[in-house]
Amino acid sequence: MSVDIRDRLADLEIEIVPETAQRHRAAIEAELKSPSPIPVRRMRGRRRPTVILAIVALIVLTAAGALAAETAVQGEPLYPVKQVTEWARTWIDATVPADHRIEELDRMIDRRANQEEITDQLQRAEDAVADVAVRDAVPVDRLDRARDRIVDAEADAPNSDQPVGDDPPSDGADRPPDSTLPPLERPGDGDEGEQDGRGDALEGVEGDLSLPAAIPPLCRRAAASTERGETIPRWVLRAWPDYLPQPGDRALDSP
């Protein structure tokens, strides 16, 4: 049967008649005499470097953008880029947001951003640290150092004795003109009328903490967290030397 099929298929075999062959040869010769077309591969070869260059440029630009965004802080144009890369990196390392928020806090302190911004950033950093499930991996000590720096910056301010809102003295102090850091006010400073107003952060806190009225909001919040039974950071004591340890305090980091 197989032989039969092959025999029958053999009927499909044809031979090109000489006239047709002659016509074909003439057409082929005409094609060969025409100018050699641009080889297909050479065209591909011209296109290929362009494509490779475009891909490399895209990768480099993306990487450069991501790198530049690493130093961005809240409110800057590249900050959304940083958030995207951070979201991606969070899949690998859950502590990345906490790291970033603390870095941003450090940068804002370096730039002497105004206190409201620093306070908001500190809040974000604390939230980010609180969101990390593995507490050992969280750079809490860096957060504490950042808090210390905030207090130091406030304490080192040349117009620390001036009331909030007064113009800084023109003593030639090396301070950026756009700085809006208010002076750190020591306990006992300020008028008596404000001493009882301890700020929203202290609402519901029991006991007499003897808070000064004009103590900066950061210190007030730290005092509130201390009241919740957390460790008293050294910066609280430096900012507020008259603080008396309360029964809920677990440890005291001596200044």
Binding site: I5, L9, L12, E13, A21, H24, I28, L32, S36
Partner: protein, 195 residues
Amino acid sequence: MTRARDALEEHVDGVRTRSEEAFSAVYALMANGLASYANGMLRDRLAAEDSVQQAFLELARAAPNLRGDGRSLRAWLYRSVRYSCLDEIRRRERRPEVVTDQVPGAGYRDEIDLPDPALQAALLALSERQRSLLVLRHVVGLSGAQVAKAMETNRTAVYAATARAERRLRQLLEGVESEHVAASVSVEREVLDER
């Protein structure tokens, strides 16, 4: 086949440089095989010859980029014919079928060069790939390796697929022929009844 392959290898360099002598020699060696293949695919002698010419014209344009030896050149030509056959088949499928009493022109020449109607019907029922395999193996007479290179597959797949295609063609032929026998018997009966 061996002789043809050796001859092709002699002309590969000439083809790359677009030499008329090399093209002429390659045409002499390959044209009939390519035409038979196209004829098996299209069941149309004129369209088959056109596809052969088209393949050589494309070779003339792409010759400077040709790589490989004589086997690659052979596979390149068969692939080119195959693609132009597929284009032609697709064109025919798109073309609306018009019933006419006029003399068949281009596109209606299927039965001209294939006197075996049962084989024609059975080949039509095969897939394009099965038809290609059978024609390349049993009409053109290519080896399994050559068919594999032309069809861009491997030799084992060619042997297995060819066996399946032969089996299928055999079944189809048996079915078609039995229908033909039944049809011819009924026609004979009608003639006898009329008498």
